[in-house]
């Protein structure tokens, strides 16, 4: 199915995106009015050194990862930051794991020195990861092991390739961004409302995915088992089998868990407003067949299929997919209202209509990333080596207005003429990204980390040492 669609549809593919990076800088495309730059563009790797030299926000980055332990509070754990693993990916895909740094200055020096193409953040270990060798082969209680780690999620558009009609793989455009936007909404709502997490950082991964960092202390201290449980709770879409989506919905009842019902409400809004029309999900035969395959009800499917086939090529005033979705809903409602249809059939149809939304639009988490404490995840503010885009924080509250194609790039920041409108726009975009980082995440986190350290000292004084 996927191949058929690929062949028939107009699409923006990888090359287009790569050309973007070389043509007009995507970070400023909104402002550029004409002449593309004449001189050859520098490569992303060339720009990495100056980026780490002058643009990377070390202050914010380290303030985050220190969780208040960089303060002058007497109870602060000065070793805290140093027990964090960072992994550098050097040029040529060389992974240098178990890097750790005493403080901001040391990190800054190392990055300027090694110029990693990518930085991953690992867990906090019980000891400085650089000294891990001293702990191998010792008794059970003195092993080198992770003790803390943010709860992380990774959602990638490539996992939507079987339902995306605008492009495949590394492709990303305004037509598929709604899938990411609704993913942020659904997961963010669950994490905040159900699990009570407050310090959640959403990051654009630089190309076609998004990352989520849940940084509440409670989240950081979760065991692998608890992480798996949360990931499973959040996973309604469980991959596909033989072309059909596997959904973890209630099998015994039409009622779903309140959390799933909330997700459905969010999905429904995104579906009718953006996903359905922009992805053109009912516009041509392979697409509607995929949808009808979920509806299953023979009578309904046959009728619609026939009607849509006859209408092939006919022009409509509005959006064809939305119109057809309305027709589909009407057909289902007709059955639901009819007295002759049996109860099982009605139940099935009612459920199927929901299932379409879950199968096409529910966030597709890469759960392996979330399950284990010691899984690495790319750090925010890295540069994506292929696109040159900065992995910028996103405000979940205004996720729908986030434009992945307009994200600030290292070229915009460092390869434009000083003072040119493009350079200014890039500076502005970077400043805004930092503002988002502070406003949506860091400021509140810093306040709560500070309080937590003080509170801990107090309770430790009262109760003796916690185990």
């Amino acid at each position: 199915m996927a191949e058929e669609q690929e062949a028939k549809r107009p699409r923006l593919d990888d090359e287009k995106e790569d050309m973007d990076a070389e043509g007009s800088a995507p970070g400023t495309s909104g402002l550029s009015t004409g002449a593309p730059a004449q001189r050859p563009k520098k490569s992303v790797q060339d720009l990495m050194r100056p980026y780490y030299g002058s643009k990377f926000p070390y202050d914010e980055f380290c303030a985050w990862l220190a969780y208040g332990h960089d303060s002058k509070l007497p109870q602060a754990d000065a070793m805290f930051f140093q027990r964090r693993e960072l992994c550098f990916t050097l040029d040529g895909d060389i992974f240098v794991r178990y890097q750790s740094f005493k403080d901001k200055e040391e990190l800054q020096r190392a990055m300027a020195n090694k110029v990693p193409a990518k930085i991953d953040i690992g867990p906090i270990y019980n000891v400085d990861p650089q000294r891990r060798k001293a702990y191998t082969g010792l008794a059970a209680d003195r092993v080198f092991a992770p003790v803390e780690r943010e709860l992380v999620f990774d959602i990638d558009l490539t996992d939507y390739d079987d339902v995306r009609t605008c492009g495949k793989e590394a492709h990303i455009c305004s037509a598929c961004w709604p899938l990411m936007a609704v993913a942020v909404q659904v997961i963010d709502a669950c994490l905040r409302e159900d699990f009570g997490f407050k310090h959640i950082l959403w990051v654009f991964s630089g190309r076609r995915g998004i990352h989520c960092w849940v940084c509440d202390e409670r989240a950081r201290k979760m065991t692998d088992e608890q992480r798996s449980a949360v990931a499973s709770y959040l996973s309604v879409y469980r991959g596909s089998e033989g072309g059909a989506a596997k959904l973890a919905l209630s099998q015994v009842s039409a009622a779903n868990h309140p959390s799933v019902e909330r997700a459905l409400r969010l999905l429904y809004a995104a579906w009718t407003e953006s996903i359905l029309p922009q992805q053109r999900l009912l516009a041509d035969e392979p697409a509607w067949k995929a949808v009808l395959a979920i509806i299953k009800d023979e009578e309904v499917c046959e009728r619609l299929h026939g009607r849509w086939q006859r209408a092939h090529g006919r022009l409509t005033s509005g959006d064809i997919s939305s119109e057809r979705w309305a027709e589909l809903s009407t057909e289902i409602d007709k059955v639901l209202d009819s007295k002759s249809a049996d109860r099982a059939r009605k139940q099935q149809l009612l459920r199927a209509r929901k299932e379409v939304l879950f199968a096409f639009a529910y966030p597709r988490l890469d759960v392996e990333v979330s399950k284990k404490m010691n899984h690495l995840l790319k750090a925010p503010f890295c540069i994506h080596p292929k696109t040159g885009k900065v992995c910028v924080p996103m405000d979940p509250g205004s996720i729908w207005s986030f434009d992945p194609e307009a994200v600030v790039t290292v070229h915009g920041l460092l390869d434009e003429e000083r003072g040119s409108p493009k350079a200014a726009a890039a500076e502005q975009a970077m400043a805004e990204a930092l503002q988002t980082f502070h406003g949506c995440f860091l400021d509140e986190l810093a306040a709560s980390s500070r309080q937590s350290i003080i509170a801990k000292a107090r309770s430790a004084a009262q109760a003796g040492l916690a185990w």
Binding site: F195, S228, A229, A248, A255, V260, W467
Partner: protein, 508 residues
Amino acid sequence: MSAWMQKQQARSTRAAAVASAVAEDAAELASEQRISMYTEAPSGEVCIEDFERYAIDRLRVLKGIEEAKTKGFKGDQLQELVVKLAEKHLRGATQQETRWKDAVSHFVLRLAYCKTEDLRRWFLQHECELFKSRFRNELPASQVDFMRRHSFDYEALAGEEYQVLKPDLVKVQESVGNSAFANEIKQATSRDAFFKVPFEQVPDLVATRRVLLKAGWAYVSRHEVASLVVSRFRAGLSHALVLTARRWATIIADEEADRLTPLISTLSERYLGPDYGDERKGPSEAVMAAQIPYLAKESFPLCMQSMYHRLHTDAHLKHNGRLQLGLFLKGIGLPLEEAMKFWRAEFGPKCMGEAFDKKYAYGVRYNYAKEGKRTDYTPYSCMKIIQTPVPRGEAFGCPYKTASPQELTEQLRAMRLPPRVVEEAVSKARGHHYQLACTAVFQGQHNCICESGISHPNQYYDESRKELTAAQGATATVTLGGAEHKTPVVKSSASAQALTAGPTPMTT
């Protein structure tokens, strides 16, 4: 929680010294009828035989649980089976003896399974399953009583909060199919129906969305309290195991060097044989993992028999052997999931759980075209087996070619073949007529003439089954001729049961 842990720590250090006496909370034990948190090591004398016997009986239960889970048992079905297993193996003559045996066996296995991360994980997982099943098997009143005794003082959901959450609580119950309970909530303001706990304490309920979550609190219904209790049981046992390991390494291992140490260190390597319970009756054409031991004896050609034997005694078989035996087993009709079960059980003593999954599960799936090139490999023929060079010490290949005449003689005698047949086979093998030797053995074993000769291990097997089935059909007329393994097929499943459940494999 941490106070509880400290208590637990103090207790389990004592627990490590199983054989030594520790003061016991008699009042607690009196009310503690069938389940225990094992916070206190039992005190009293255990004779060394009981010490071992109890441990092995418990091991049977835990291995039975592992078995059931690989078979896909879940929920109530699993619970029922686990309770039955415990009843079967851990029951004493009196209630008191049952409790005693339960406690002793638990603490002995704690010692045996504390040493490595893998062992601890295995023990923890299956002990938790056992505990959970037993707990859920209790009546609600007894469960509540148990929780009270172990000071699970959770906040019961009540008043305004309950009213606000009621519609959502109903929805959760409906979504998991408890409509009766959902109606109960709707109609009455039934008190104490829910506990409010941090979501971290009920990961299993969270994972399956069986619980309402609000702002980090999980609202656990009284039907689901088991997972709360188990969660604490797990945390306590996990912690205790680490402490026990430390204490074992530093103190007890030396103190008990002559008495308990040798016993303890071999316990975790004990192989109890594939005890596949009563799942023996499958479709006639499919072969179950549990049948392999007796099928091997009855119908495997020598090459497969010796590989199987090697696998069974070493709990390991090298790559080529796994390939050769694995494909042969596929050929006789062992389905993938049964194969997985078989290999997992055979490798069990040395390599279990995740380690097995990482190292060997791929290979099993590969044989069934589920990995790699996904080619449906066919079992090797005699020609292929004979031609493959066999490095020293490997178990694969054709034994008529690779074994020395003495070894061969011994192996054939072990099959209880008449001396005449052994002689004939050995001399044919010496003359490089390996397949003729094999044919001679087949004829001797089945007391028949094999005109086509043996050219494929699977052919050997198929012919053998045919002969044995025919013999079964005509039990009255066919002379059994002293070949005692020529038991009718139906009966042999019973004998296989004796074989796997009997005392012999225990001591290997």
